[in-house]
């Protein structure tokens, strides 16, 4: 397991995990956004690697991917952003999230070597399940980078053991059947399922999808070990494309609020 992820989960406080697309709306602003998010107390940061066909994402993150790609974001840009974060902060876990084709195209070994050298701690690939991820898994394992597995409300118990079998870092529980930024998290279902997942794995469980504000975070954190907020942050970027100062202020305030949610 990545030592930084392990370290973060050493204490039992609930974690705030944030998602923004790397390079959205552009390289420079994206770095500032991540600086702000870290400054305001995110426990783990997820950085999206934009893809032309983000099939698991709703309109908000689709648009973020498009903005990033239109402004020439590619994997090299994402690596530079990670470098920028690591230069200032040696402890916060960085998790890259995206779709398989971009990595496959870069070359699995090249990719893993690269993210290892810049201090990335985990990887979430939305369209790659344990049945297909052996090569990537082996490469990541040799570098102690976590391949974070996703579990959904309809994951069967047979699949649950397949998924948890080689899982490391933490487990990502998707609170809804659906895409990002649409339906609200199904808390009732989450309360039922998380205890069941714990029977299969000792790993921390972070919940994501449909978690929109402080209240949601606080509710989720009663059961899960932390919450991921993505589309709501990305929406602030989208709404303030012409006013960067306002964008930073709103993001800062929002992250502070979310952080409070983890403590309630």
């Amino acid at each position: 397991m990545s030592s930084r992820i392990k370290e973060v989960f050493k204490n039992s406080s609930k974690k705030l995990v944030t998602f923004v697309t790397g390079g959205d709306p552009d390289y420079k602003t994206s770095k500032e956004i991540l600086d702000k998010i870290i400054e305001k107390g995110a426990s783990i940061i997820e950085i999206g690697m934009p893809f032309s066909d983000p099939m698991a994402d709703g309109p908000t993150i689709q648009l973020a991917s498009k903005r990033a790609i239109d402004n020439d974001t590619n994997l090299e840009t994402i690596f530079k952003i990670c470098n920028h974060i690591r230069e200032k902060n040696l402890s916060i876990p960085i998790v890259l999230m995206g779709y398989y084709n971009v990595i496959l195209h870069y070359g699995i070994k090249n990719f893993v070597d690269k993210i290892n050298s810049i201090g990335v701690d985990g990887l979430i690939i939305v369209d790659l399940q344990p049945e297909e991820d052996q090569e990537l898994y082996d490469n990541l394992k040799s570098k102690k980078i976590d391949l974070i597995r996703l579990i959904t409300p309809n994951t069967t118990s047979k699949r649950l053991s397949t998924i948890t079998n080689q899982a490391s870092g933490f487990l990502y529980y998707v609170t809804i059947t659906g895409i990002t930024g649409q339906k609200s998290a199904d808390i009732k279902e989450l309360k039922k399922i998380i205890p069941n997942i714990r029977k299969y794995s000792q790993l921390p469980i972070i919940a994501g999808f449909g978690i929109k504000d402080k209240k949601d975070v606080s509710e989720i954190c009663k059961t899960a070990d932390g919450a991921v907020v993505g589309s709501s942050i990305v929406k602030i970027i989208e709404n303030n494309l012409n006013n960067k100062k306002q964008m930073m202020n709103e993001i800062g305030f929002f992250i502070e609020e979310l952080k409070k949610g983890t403590k309630e």
């Binding site: 099939m55 084709n101 971009v102 297909e132």
Partner: protein, 404 residues
């Protein structure tokens, strides 16, 4: 077909791979669902009751077998091989697409699904899906790119008449690729009650082989029809290829007949060197999109590129995984035809045989026109006339700068 080590029928393997291609690359939410589709499909493959029901509807509703027509005037004009058209354009709804839709809706019924979704490019698959949904009384939602809605208005109206709800997709390239993204997003959101009828031999396993199997009726019919008419098997099979379901439908039954050559024709759009084309094999490389590993048009960063073709049905940056395999095995030869060549073939077919072909098989015909004269008179070509061109008359008029 007899299973043996060298048979093409051994593919896909249990993980859904044809050689290096295929597999199942979807979000976790879809995995349980797709595993169920696979399970139920495996159970009906050898279930005589299911096959009987499928055959019944193909015969009495779709109008199968479709004729195998000797295109005498084109044969004479080109002065080479004897040319036959497998006339799948005469099927109910005007293309081969309904063979697959019929199979999948029977499967959806068996699984107790209450809602059907599909993507469509040219609208032929959308019309076929809307048709079988009307036939079995299931609600139908069709995802279609904004650009395709514009260029295929007759099919849009047809789908509406059949009771389908059309959802316009305005992101990305506004065509088939993005319609498929939206359909997948719908499916992931409505996993409990929805069945996704994928229109081509692509997508997560078992779709590529399932669609191929439902379409393979085309080649099976050709085998018996050509024996009756010529008392020998064809020398060359030709089909156009977008995702590749009509080509596989024609080829599959003959893959183990080593002496039979096969030619698949991709859409070269404005030309392969123009960058505006849809030829995934000639101009792409292996990658992962829409649930499978296959050849894809992509840029230097692994972003999927927009395809271009005058034919909405071929306007897709990928290809079914079995074709990627047959390409690398060199079992099928893959060539391409440009928009211009397809249009010329379209006009030629109308005037010479009295058949208005869809722009998709017009690409196949364009390749046929080049190769037939180089073959001898005792050789036989069978080309899949996989769709009729009524839907394309506005596009063609536009391309020929004619006002109607």
């Amino acid at each position: 077909m007899v299973q043996n080590k060298n048979s093409y029928s051994q593919w896909p393997n249990e993980k859904g791979y044809f050689g290096d291609f295929g597999g199942r690359y979807v979000s976790e939410t879809l995995m349980p669902l797709i595993e169920e589709v696979e399970q139920v499909y495996n159970s009906v493959r050898n279930d005589s009751k299911f096959q009987k029901e499928f055959d019944y509807y193909l015969r009495n509703y779709v109008g199968r077998p479709s004729p195998l027509f000797f295109a005498e005037r084109i044969t004479e004009d080109l002065g080479g091989a004897k040319i036959y058209f497998k006339r799948d354009e005469l099927n109910h709804t005007g293309a081969h697409k309904i063979n697959n839709c019929m199979g999948q809706i029977l499967l959806a019924k068996r699984m107790g699904k209450k809602r059907i979704i599909a993507e469509t490019g040219a609208g032929q698959h959308g019309v076929a899906t809307a048709t079988v949904c009307a036939l079995f009384g299931l609600p139908c939602i069709i995802y279609m790119g904004e650009k395709d809605i514009e260029r295929q208005s007759p099919n849009v109206f047809r789908m509406k008449l059949l009771g389908a709800e059309i959802k316009s997709v305005s992101n990305g390239s506004k065509s088939l690729k993005d319609a498929m993204n939206e359909a997948l997003r719908d499916w992931v959101t409505n996993v409990q009650d929805t069945f996704y009828i994928i229109g081509t031999a692509a997508g997560p396993h078992p779709y590529p082989s399932m669609v191929r199997d439902f379409q393979s009726v085309i080649g099976k019919e050709v085998r018996s029809q050509i024996m009756v008419q010529e008392n020998k098997l064809p020398d060359l099979l030709i089909a156009c290829i977008g995702g590749g379901s009509n080509a596989l439908g024609l080829f599959y039954d003959f893959l183990d007949d080593k002496e039979i050559k096969m030619l698949a024709v991709e859409a070269a759009g404005l030309g392969l060197s123009s960058g505006k084309h849809a030829a995934s094999l000639s101009g792409g490389k292996p990658g992962v999109l829409h649930g499978n590993k296959t050849y894809l048009l992509q840029n230097q960063d692994g972003q999927i590129e927009e395809a271009h073709s005058i034919s909405a049905g071929l306007d897709y940056p990928g290809i079914g995984p079995e074709h990627s395999f047959l390409f690398e095995q060199k079992r099928v030869k893959y060539v391409s035809a440009t928009d211009y060549e397809a249009l010329e073939a379209f006009k030629y077919c109308c005037k010479t045989e009295g058949i208005i072909p869809a722009l998709e098989p017009a690409h196949a015909l364009a390749a046929l026109i080049k190769i037939a004269p180089t073959m001898s008179k005792d050789e036989i070509i069978v080309m899949n006339m996989c769709g009729r061109g009524d839907k394309d008359i506005f596009t063609v008029a536009d391309a020929l700068k004619i006002k109607i």
